[in-house]
Amino acid sequence: MTTTSSAEPAPSLAAGVWDNHWVRFAVRRTGQLLISLWALVTASFLMIHLVPGDPVRASLGLTAPQSLVAARREALGLNDPLLVQYWHYLQDLATGDFGISMSSQLPVSQVISQRLPATLALAVSAFVLALLIAIPLGALMGVVTRGGRAQRTELSFTTVSVVVGAIPDFVVCVILVWIFGVNLHMFPVAGKSGLDSYVLPVVALAVGPGLVLARILRVEMLAVLQADYIRTARAKRLPAVAIYLKHALPNALTATLTLSGLLLSGLIAGTVLVENVFAWPGLGSTIVSSIQGKDYPVVQAIVLVYGVFVLLINLAVDVALALLDPRSTIREN
């Protein structure tokens, strides 16, 4: 850290120091990503081997002829030594080959590329909606209830957000379907067609995380509004809006961001349930039918895809955190 007031400016040196902790951050974070990725790939590989009994027999059913099972085992390479299979699995993944679906005989990569966009569209819109709920609501609540003000507002906000946030996705789905589908006939309740078919699944996914995040942001705002630098900002006689939006909110967001990453990965998982309620043609409905049909290559691949997304989200959160608050790159050392 450059705390000395050395006379020689040496901007290149300073820039070097500045770069340095970014470089170290990048290296450390990439290493972390690679290790997690390796763990994920290995777990996905092992999944088929951890299934008790013969996965091919389980998949084809008890009535399938032994010759078919043997042929399928051979085709999947299940007779090779485990390490050889592992090596082949890694090689295949590297070339984007996820194997062949046991039930449809289609390449799994094709299944994924057909299904992934629908899931991504759902998850991204839900995340955006969750943030659109959380940031204004949380910040506003923080400002309104600071220093023990507006206790009644605080109590009703907390109660409502705790209760609604505790309702699991699939129950929210059912309630939304009942209100807007059954009673009001406002929105379609199954399939992905026009924009209006997004409304119910996206709202079902976003409401819970949005409220949880709003609550967290409120608490962070309360803490930040107590900070000395907010007093400094007030002493600078800045308008209230500048104090809250420019000085308080970014500091409250840094802490909230980490949790929003958690919520986003939770949201990815939530799509599994929501897709099944709304017959959404995404990965979520596919993975459930594949688990039920014991189509292991498809399950393996989808688990991998979900896992990679979760890892990327965590990475994105850390990078955003680093940009918002440069101290976070150093803190861990």
Partner: protein
């Protein structure tokens, strides 16, 4: 013997009073509701199958898929079975499976989380790394992964949900355990050679037990929800068994004809989940710190005494600040506390006034009140509060530009007083952009110029840095620079050097002094350190218990201080003649608490000159011919006793 020692240490480690803390859970409305709800849920889980199993399984082909009726309050399903009965009966399986999964979660989490304690650092580090990778993935994904391995069905789902919850529980265990591991009694046990397993069971786990139980309860709530989710997807409980998730899934397919069939199990899931959650949270809150914020509205009584006009409302063109009868009050348990009670003084251009007093004397609040930085629920009142001839009372935003340009503040802790997420230059420039209407570039140039003025080397580069890249002294100078962005007439510095190294302190003081001299600024310096004040100031205000007790020229401090408190303050300052090995002297007794100021002179309990009059009648602040003020009945009396009687305490 060693074991005794350990037990003794442990018994003093704060595990007392647990009983009563658990009882407080029931005393809060939320806690009581949660306890009742959870109790009802558990009772229902036991009795429902006994009472309603018959109805739940009796198929009635005459009444298939009927809506709610007198016979079937929630209607019937596709085989004519009573839905309400099925939902009630399903309570047992739903709760049972959730608890079973929680048990698996807790046991495997405990095993994973305590490996480090049992098998040493290295094993601990490896498991921590594994756990870190695992917790990155959401529970539902882990549950799906395990559901594939263990197969579809009740057994598979229990294992899947239990194991999916294990990593985060293990992480919790690790965090809690590592907190306890360094405590005295564990270290003592270790030194005494108690084996690791015993340490874990006897000394570590009992101390983290409460937190683990709370989290396991909350975990049971989420296990219940996850289980319902898996069954809902058709991956959990399989027919003919049924739990809430499965009933919900079945109900959803017929929701257009018969919504109650879907809503009833949905409501059951939510209520049960909430019962576990709220119970856990209520217990957590009861165990942690409880804070009660008073709801009293501040009604500050009008001052009964006529405001003190002695200092004279001298209509001097040179007057920067004029304060009369300033009061600050807070709502508190049982009424209103007034930590600043009637402070009056004035300041002229270029004058340096010091305010000294112990912490709690109201000096910082006085500064904040003058700066209009006191926020609700505290309230400020004053007979007069004028800055550059403008009445500031009523606060609000009316004087924003006046204060923004001409009134500057320097706070105590430069480490926390700058916004960590903004560049230093930007934080300075903001003032000029907001109040001076400067463009971004001009404002930045001025910021660099001001950083230069407060002797920050290489100001252009420094302006681009964040506060954490500055040293403490440099940050405080940057804060002062921030105050110079406008055209200050008054700088209020609240303990500006207290948080700094001794070597840096004098540099910051000199800088303030220099600015005052060169720019003819009035400087109000708040400090608990009378030697700092004496060094810099022209005039000193001594505050005690929220009032000014003496106002005198700094030069007179040593020779002509009249108030016994001022004299005591001077007496306890170590000087050249104080031997270095001599313990620090302090004024005997304690400053009165703002909640209960004594009736007469607030200093009476500590005053060597106190008389009966002092204890009943508060002395007024009298001005003498030279303009010096003092509030003491016996101001002129000599006290030879003070230096000797000053109780000498070891620090």
């Amino acid at each position: 013997m060693a074991a005794n020692l350990v037990t003794e240490l442990e018994s003093t480690s704060g595990r007392r009073g647990n009983r009563s803390r658990w009882v407080t859970v029931v005393r809060t409305p939320v806690g009581a509701a949660a306890v009742i709800a959870l109790g009802a849920l558990l009772v229902l889980a036991v009795v429902a199958p006994i009472l309603w199993s018959g109805q739940a399984t009796r198929a009635d082909t005459a009444q298939m898929l009927h809506g709610p009726s007198g016979d079937h309050w929630a209607g019937t399903d596709n085989l004519g079975r009573d839905i309400l009965a099925r939902v009630l009966v399903a309570t047992r399986l739903s709760v049972e499976l959730a608890l079973l999964a929680t048990l698996i979660m807790v046991v495997s989490g405990l095993l994973l989380g305590t490996l480090g304690v049992l098998f040493g650092r290295r094993v601990g580090r490896v498991t921590a790394a594994v756990i870190n990778v695992a917790v990155a993935f959401p529970g539902l994904l882990l549950a799906l992964f395990f559901a594939v391995i263990f197969g579809i069905g009740t057994k598979g789902a229990v294992l899947a949900i239990g194991l999916a919850g294990a990593p985060s529980f293990a992480r919790l265990v690790q965090t809690l355990v590592s907190g306890v591991e360094q405590r005295d009694f564990v270290l003592a046990a270790r030194v005494a050679g108690v084996n690791r397993f015993r340490i874990l069971l006897r000394h570590v786990l009992p101390n983290v037990g409460e937190a683990l139980i709370v989290n396991a309860t909350i975990g049971a709530g989420s296990a219940l929800l996850s289980f319902a989710g898996l069954s809902f997807l058709g991956l959990g409980v399989q027919p003919p068994d049924y739990d809430w998730g499965q009933l919900l899934g079945n109900g959803l397919t017929g929701i257009f004809e018969h919504p109650v069939a879907a809503l009833a199990p949905g409501i059951a899931v939510v209520l049960a989940g909430l019962a576990f959650n709220f119970f856990g949270e209520a217990v957590a809150k009861a165990i942690g710190v409880t804070t009660t914020i008073g709801r009293i509205r501040v009604r500050v009584p009008k001052p009964a005494v006529a405001p003190d006009r002695s200092e004279a409302d001298r209509p001097d063109g040179d007057t920067v600040l004029q304060v009369t009868d300033l009061r600050v009050s807070f709502p508190a348990a049982g009424g209103v506390v007034t930590p600043v009670r009637g402070v009056s003084f004035g300041m002229a251009r270029g004058e340096t006034v010091g305010v000294v007093g112990e912490s709690g004397s109201g000096k910082s609040l006085t500064a904040l009140a003058i700066a209009q930085l006191i926020e609700r629920p505290a309230a400020v009142e004053a007979g007069r509060l004028e800055f550059l001839g403008t009445d500031l009372r009523g606060g609000g935003t009316a004087h924003r530009d006046l204060l923004g340009v001409h009134f500057s503040m320097v706070f105590q802790d430069p480490m926390t007083s700058m916004n960590p997420t903004h560049r230093v230059g930007g934080q300075l420039a903001e003032v000029a952009r907001r109040h001076g209407g400067l463009s971004r570039k001009d404002a930045n140039d001025r910021a660099v110029d001001r950083l230069d003025a407060v002797q920050i080397p290489d100001p252009r580069r420094r302006a681009h840095q964040y506060p954490h890249e500055f040293s403490g002294g440099m940050r405080q100078r940057a804060m002062i620079g921030m105050g110079l962005m406008g055209d200050p007439a008054l700088i209020v510095a609240d303990e500006p050097t207290t948080a700094l190294d001794v070597t840096v302190q004098s540099r910051v003081l000199h800088l303030l002094e220099e600015i005052r001299r060169e720019q003819n600024v009035a400087l109000l310096l708040i400090s608990h350190d009378i030697s700092v004040v004496r060094q810099v100031c022209d005039r000193v205000l001594v505050m005690y218990a929220g009032q000014i007790v003496e106002d005198l020229p700094a030069a007179d401090l040593h020779s002509a201080a009249r108030h016994p408190y001022t004299r005591a303050l001077i007496a306890v300052v170590p000087d050249m003649h104080t031997a270095l090995n001599q313990p620090l002297a302090v004024i005997p007794g304690r400053a009165p608490d703002p909640t209960s100021y004594p009736a007469g002179c607030a200093f009476a309990p500590r005053c060597p000159l106190a008389t009966a009059q002092c204890r009943t009648e508060a002395p007024p602040l009298e001005t003498d011919a030279a303009g010096r003020r003092v509030a003491c009945w016996n101001a002129e009396a000599p006290i030879e006793v003070i230096p000797e009687s000053a109780e000498v305490l070891c620090e």
